[in-house]
Symmetry: C3
Subunit: 276 residues, 3 copies
């Protein structure tokens, strides 16, 4: 039985998540439901896309991802189901798929045509759950939808590259649980433009000329532990999702703060890479 994951902006206090899980188990008792996140900022498909993009590839083939963010169905926000790399995504056509992948195979893309069985305002509770259970049982997309050619595209999270190809202007797209500041500059983009040249990363008035491979690469382990003062040092790193990230090494969020508040870097702020 494939896994069904949930990514929503419902929070974990209200009844919504429990109601969705109950509906899935009522429809398909053997289902295996896994939470990815319910803490998405309300209506933020950018955040949901960042989180899901970095989570889904760890899941086994056949996994079905329900996205309950900006998912009220309307003439402009149609429910879709799509197969990507042998996994499935059920969401509304609000641009989120274009931020998760840019490889859409229209053969594996449908607009969902099954209707809500009642006047349910929480479409995810009804239409999305039915579609997920249909796929989990081995059903095909054609049965629950009609093939469409493309999805709505959103490009806002792409970094800008200048014509001379010596500068990338990215922006902060996510701040994680540790206060790390994550840009939209991927290791691939960096390598393709930089081609091994020296570089300078500018984030506000801070500069970085090295990108670490691991956080603790900043530590000189040959110095005795009691003589080191590494905690809180700022560093640039390609994070586990392969995005350029500004971090403070082991910074204590509660007492001191993380990169975001200590360096004053927030959502949409620029992070610039200049190559020599």
């Amino acid at each position: 039985m494939p896994i069904i994951t949930l990514t929503t902006d419902f929070g974990t206090k209200d009844h919504f998540v429990g109601a969705v899980k109950g509906s899935i188990y009522k429809e398909l008792h053997e289902a295996k439901v896994v939470d990815i996140s319910h803490q998405i900022t309300p209506f933020s498909i950018t955040e949901a896309a960042y989180i899901l993009k970095n989570a889904y590839q760890n899941f086994p083939e056949g996994t079905i991802h329900i996205i309950g963010v900006d998912s009220e169905i309307s003439v402009e926000n149609k429910p879709i189901a799509i197969q990507l790399e042998n996994q499935y995504f059920i969401c509304c056509d609000n641009g989120i798929i274009s931020m998760i992948t840019n490889e859409i195979n229209p053969e594996k893309l449908v607009e969902i045509t099954i209707q809500s069985s009642n006047d349910n305002k929480l479409s995810i509770l009804d239409v999305f759950v039915k579609v997920a259970c249909h796929i989990a049982r081995g059903g095909t997309l054609e049965v629950i939808g009609k093939q469409i050619d493309d999805v709505k595209k959103l490009y806002e999270i792409q970094p800008q590259i200048n014509v001379e190809k010596n500068q990338i202007v990215g922006s902060v797209i996510y701040i994680d649980n540790f206060g790390n500041v994550i840009s939209n500059i991927t290791q691939n983009t960096f390598n393709n433009i930089g081609k091994g040249r020296e570089f300078e990363i500018i984030a506000r008035n801070y500069k970085f000329t090295k990108i670490y491979k691991k956080y603790n690469e900043i530590v000189d382990f040959s110095t005795p532990r009691e003589k080191r003062h590494d905690d809180g040092k700022k560093l640039a790193i390609f994070n586990s999702a392969n995005f350029l990230e500004i971090s403070l090494y082991r910074s204590n969020l509660k007492t001191v703060g993380g990169a975001s508040n200590l360096l004053g870097l927030n959502y949409r702020d620029n992070i610039t890479v200049r190559f020599n």
Copy 2:
């Protein structure tokens, strides 16, 4: 194997929830445990009742709901188990059941008589888990308790209807993850009293003369998207749980706020409906 759900005020940081799940799996390895909420305001059976009332009907028959809110056992707070619509609830007799349903069948109601096996201060960890696993294995209520006739009643969350039957005075019983303000006025009560008459809803100094069927019904989709300014518009709606709710359409809680703080509506504030 039926599902066992958990609704508690334990939060998700402490060891309590993990300990309860471990205890269930130790007692019944094949158990399927589903979280409904652990973010209930400490000791708030009103919140727990609202959340569980709106979640449980989505679960399959046979589901067993453990309620770990105000659940320290005492002479005044006795543990009970009750069957409602082919589902089971295990909690203390503190009034919460009367807020979830008013249809009590005493044939399906027992005071739990099995004792804590040790001096455990967390009764849910011990008595509730044992009872839940007993029911999950197909055991009957009589084996773990003695039949009682009724449960403690709490009426505080009923809206008041005047003698002329042209006014309902409700109050705010819940504020959800989106900042939506939820009253205790159900669609049923509204329809029964209103009988199709025109009406005015008064919440603080705001008035509403329409109740929407879907949030996005407020959008005029015939206007081009770039000319619309719908985000943040206030509206009244019967929410997915069929309660009258005041909402700001797609309001961003982080930057602007939701209905609760922007309209100044908080727990226990009045929401009044006047029929003409």
Copy 3:
């Protein structure tokens, strides 16, 4: 199939927890994953140890606990796996094991020698998941590691006992979801030193001469309910984890506050017991 639990400082918003679960299910589809906590203060192995120590004994034999706190692997922070009382712990050798137990059997202790299959920065995603699934399948520790003799020891959370053996100076090690203030003084230590003598507990300028067995033991149930004023009364209790705790009975955190903020007791503050 044994349970695999997760205790991390990842929070529940980011993709990390979902990614770890996906990796486990990809490696071992029938795995049963249970969250203990993801809200550990970043890098706080003290908190993680307190939570896990109080949770793990509730789990069935064979359970495998992954600890993703301070788990970036380095020459000073080696990955280890250990068997304790028929359960397994996978973590880094950063001292956390010494805070969970002081009974290490070196025959059941290995330094993990399997390597990360790629350049993964999130070692838990890779090494820890592989080891957990190996053990879950029935594999032995020797296959994935080499036996070592001991783990790093951290003693900071032990209370101090004076030479006259009539005083215990403990400190606050945890503040729970209800604002309760938990010291590092166990019921065992208290009994061993106190030997039944009268005592005084001093926490800031508050004194306690009784330790309750249950929270509601503070209530005089013979007084009519409407004449009682018990809510908010302060009390000392050995909590469900058998640590000495200062609590305010049923205090409402949102409106009034809990023991921590109302009594001004915070992490590392002293709590002293004096015996007569």
